[in-house]
Symmetry: D2
Subunit: 401 residues, 4 copies
């Protein structure tokens, strides 16, 4: 069956030439990201359990839940959590299938606790966190069981919904994402005082890029205010050096700009996340599935994290749109920018979107026609292999926030 | 002090000429909208209480919370809620100020219960809902107390963040919003079987507009399947007539397309919201503050509902951007489209954004230069009167979702 | 089948002649009594629903649950609840039976809310209370369905357990229970400032009876400290007069002895129950099913309230023991005191206790032998009609605390 | 100041000569005992923290809380927990004192989790338990701070309340308590299939003692029904041998009498406690502080566990009454039975009870008068050293259930 794929030329000022560009990323320890990460960890744990017990992946959606902030009294050398963080796990999951019982609540609790322990290593899981679970019971429609080795049966779209994605990243997008990765993969190992709640806000005005970093510092690794200030300075200078990998524009980095040193009011935490001290978090309120918040770009409101990767359009089409866009950029010459939108129709096979739309901004000197047919082919290929998205999500190979 | 306002020309294909346009609105009874509505109702109730007790508006943020779905057994003539809906109220609020105690939890509970009763009138508040509250204690910085009659003190931005808005609405946007209002203001009074959980998805492909309506029907107002089908037909035909007010394009309306009549599987509910039967909801996951989800337009991820209207950029700048865009369209000739972005800097007065950016797509035959200076003036005026946004939010004159 | 009934003579100093006697009663608004009352209200509501839906009474036990105290700021003329009271309903109930679904959680919520509203009339149910429910799912063994008009099938004991009861009440017991009833039925109507949380402690030392009353006063009915003191005085004097109905001994009544008038520390409340301000309550921690706590008498630890009245020994045998003891006292001459103990064996019909034991203290001049055979007959009769206890509990004719 | 101590002769049939005697003990893994144990563990942990932080013991009461049962699917070789157990911690605690903040919620969570892990070792703490905390804030009256090395300041009684105790244990009491200890200290190490939820019910009828043991078996240590039956047989025979240490009467032991082997319905569990499968537990509903439930003896309704050991009469006087009774029996010849009752008066020093009453049943041939004066002396001595009870509770040397 022919797919409804529409490719059109986009006429607009390329992102790099727009006067003002905003890009934001909430690090893995930001309360919203914690909510996302837990939601996705629960979904993956359920998938593993379903496969072990039933040989197939069953229906569930855990793209909900709430991180209710605690209260803390940080101090140099090590403070205390005064009121525990409260996590509410919700959503629903198949708990019983063909005579097998799958203890979804227990699986969810364990996945959430393990995820939190990994993401906020300074937290004391026995004292400082309450994880509650009010997950409902879902049911698995036999038509939507996903058998990983039987790709003949394509699940039906759970809803009339859509996904969007774009490529390539702009310089500012690359910087914001790159800084976040650099801190997580590199800098924190050397400077454990840098917590995982690092929010990076990038603003490009013309040719000037200003990056504002809000990084919760872990008190036990800092003996005094001087240590704190020194760590801020290290973050700033390291990132300004790192910036050169992404751009030749001028990049200025500011760290924890709200600090008021004179009043001893700085971004000091016990665990490295502001969830300990007043900032709640929710699934789907933070980064889009490409890891960024980009108000200059089309975005979907759907939470990607925690949705089932079998037939939930809000998850699959957002991930797929981004994959397609990036793949087009990589394989096809002459794409300045590409925007993908996939729209489903409830009850129709997910490899047959109601419409798959691509908007292409060709680079100067390139011809649209040639690009268009290649884009069409790539979209068609990806849709033919849509279940590879499901498989990669389950294996944890695709980030969702 | 001069404000940093940047107006630039936008070169892009106008929305009405793009091949594919998507627009969505979640009605007031959709679980995400219920979460939004409660968050905002709580914030307003707190504002009223603060003013009564302290003569000023105090710090709070209630832009969190979770609607955990129940389970129901709908049936024609009237079914039952089998497991109550659970609402968790979180966020934080000032509970004590200058010797006065403000019982924020009690205020939040009452506001949430009243709001739910109004929005889902078929729900039995004594049986079918559990409202829990885990709201933390906030504190009010004296500099950020908002005295409604003292406009000399401008609050400081709570965060480095931004808001976006656009104008005018496209035809599809007008239709989706117009349909929703028409159902709420008109159709439901005549046909009470139409619940408040009405999700409207608009897809324009070229000149064809397809509107998919998912409307939870209230079982007690329908005696049998024929009643149900008749009501669906009424919705469809009423909306197709209503569509003519917004467009001369062809509009096709489909209602509850996932129904499987043969298997008695239709969108029947006890209360008119899918929150009764498996769909959770969260603040900030649904409509943007202009009432729509518009992936063809720039959007902010920020939840507008529930944030304090005094210094929370995620609320004030999103509302203000939309107000400015609409005001420009109304007052200035020749604007095909306008996009407003306001970026704050934490700790700076909210009337002094780090940058206020406008992108204007002039209508054919209009000159940018003239438009630009008028836009600049309008932005400047609105920023000078930014506290009017606060006042209007508190009075309930601005919708947030 | 012959029942195993053992009657023996008790040789001990009659209660009235013991030097020290202690008797306590927690009024209906005491946190423990609230927990009891809600547990029983839920059980009754479930029974009614089961009968309406299924024509029979099904398995459930709701003899659990917790009243978590709030915080309040009482003041003369009317104060506020600063943190809502939290009620957790637990236990388990049959939710599905022969194709019918019974929404036990909803029924429990409604029953609990209604009960609380009736018992603590000054409470604002929309603001000042959170009622949560985590009731599990029970299952009804077909052998233990109770059909009210089919007395041929006797349920099987749910456990190896026992009940105890005694009669008649001593003077001190009569006073404590009588005072409580008098306040509830009479005095409060005239003096609404007297809350429902009235704890009465009776101590008889020889011939002196000292009654200590702790009565939470409702602040909105008292304009000042003088009002408060006057109300205390009214309680004291009214009860001292009332005492003459029960005894010719000297009775001294003290009210709110912990008051510290100079420091404005008195037992003032917003709603008339200390559950608003720091005192938690649990099912089964207060009065025994005869309405009293009597450490001079044998007592059962079992919570009577909330247990199912069909086969739960902890409920039925405690109620029945008390009924038997009181009936013996009424019908048989010469009983100074009688103590009944009923012991079940799990899985055996409830009308066939493992042992039914009576200990009789004959009045002076009476012969044991005659009394013994009459007691045996009365016990046998009651056991033959044991299901009347079930029926009366369901109709609300037997108090459980 | 002279204490009000009253000693009188008790005339009654000694317990061993009464026809029917009932004694019960709920083992440490019974849901009610788990609730008690957690309550007491939390109180002790708070005491330790208070002492470390403030050098003194501060006000708290954690004698509340609820164990809400989960659901399980046990099977030979190892089953699963299908729904986690839910623990609610309530009560109140001083969280701030003289500028120090004590994170009472975190302390409570950790103590509860550790206690549960120790008591139900087969439970998976990451998966199968939710521990929530809704503990209120208490305040410490400076007069009631307990300084362990300053015994000059005697705390004031928190309430008008009482404690009761008796000695010596009867044979049946000794058997029931002895069996429980033997299983915990000896048998379980050899036969780990024996869970910690062992309820022992003793019934003496004349000279026959019948002991009914309900012992939850841990499924992973049993490969099949034969293993189960063999373990039951081991418990029965071991206990019948053990019985000879306590009595020369005939003792018959029955284990898990409700088992229905033919229908595969036996007392099999995943973790060894019925809290996993439907039985809720509450503080204060199980054993009295002497470890037993004894309806033939005077009992207090007060929960001893979790109350603060500084000034809470419901804890101190129950523990002290039992200590006094046992001490009298040990030191004084000729006491057949002794019953102690201590009654406080709110606000008075705890070493000055309103009345301390002893009822003594002298052994045959012994003279009351001599006994009385010795009892008076012992009571007086204990009251003079009442704070040793506090110290021993804090050190964990006194059992409370």
């Amino acid at each position: 069956m022919t797919r409804n794929i529409k490719v059109e030329t986009l006429k607009q000022i390329p992102i790099e030439k727009q006067q003002v560009e905003l890009v934001e990323r909430k690090g893995i320890g930001h309360p919203d990201s914690i909510a996302d990460g837990i939601a996705e960890a629960v979904s993956r744990a359920l998938c593993r359990a379903y496969y072990e017990e039933c040989g197939a992946y069953l229906h569930h959606n855990t793209d909900q839940g709430e991180v209710v902030a605690g209260e803390s009294i940080p101090q140099f050398g090590g403070g205390i959590i005064a009121r525990p963080i409260f996590l509410l796990l919700t959503g629903r999951a198949t708990k019983s299938f063909q005579g097998k019982y799958i203890p979804a609540d227990s699986i969810a609790l364990e996945a959430a606790r393990n995820y939190l322990k990994d993401t906020v290593p300074s937290i004391n899981m026995e004292r400082d966190v309450i994880v509650d679970c009010r997950m409902g019971t879902g049911s698995t429609d036999l038509r939507d069981v996903f058998h990983p080795y039987d790709t003949s049966r394509i699940p039906k779209a759970n809803d009339t919904s859509f996904g969007v994605g774009h490529g390539p990243f702009s310089e500012t997008e690359n910087i914001v994402k790159g800084f976040s990765d650099y801190i997580d993969d590199d800098l924190r190992a050397k400077y454990p005082a840098i917590g995982t709640d690092v929010k990076i806000m990038g603003l490009r005005t013309g040719e000037d890029i200003s990056i504002t970093v809000a990084a919760g510092m872990v008190d036990k690794y800092l003996s005094c205010m001087d240590d704190y200030l020194e760590t801020k300075e290290i973050v700033k200078s390291s990132l300004e050096i790192e910036a050169k990998r992404f751009t030749s524009r001028k990049v200025i980095v500011d760290v924890n700009t709200a600090d008021d040193i004179n009043n001893n009011s700085v971004f000091l935490t016990v665990t490295g996340t502001s969830a300990e001290m007043g900032d709640d978090g929710s699934v789907g309120r933070g980064n889009r599935c490409n890891g960024l918040i980009t108000p200059n770009r089309p975005m979907s409101m759907e939470a990607t994290s925690g949705k089932n990767p079998i037939n939930h359009i809000g998850k699959i089409y957002n991930l797929l749109s981004t994959e397609i866009a990036m793949d087009c950029v990589e394989k096809i010459d002459g794409i300045e920018e590409i925007y993908i939108r996939l729209l489903s129709q409830i009850g129709k096979p997910i490899d047959q979107p109601h419409v798959a739309s691509a908007q292409v901004l060709p680079a100067e000197g390139f011809d649209s026609a040639g690009i268009f047919s290649e884009v069409d082919t790539i979209i068609n290929d990806w849709l033919s292999n849509i279940q590879s998205v499901t498989s990669r999500v389950i294996r944890g190979e695709l980030n969702t926030f």
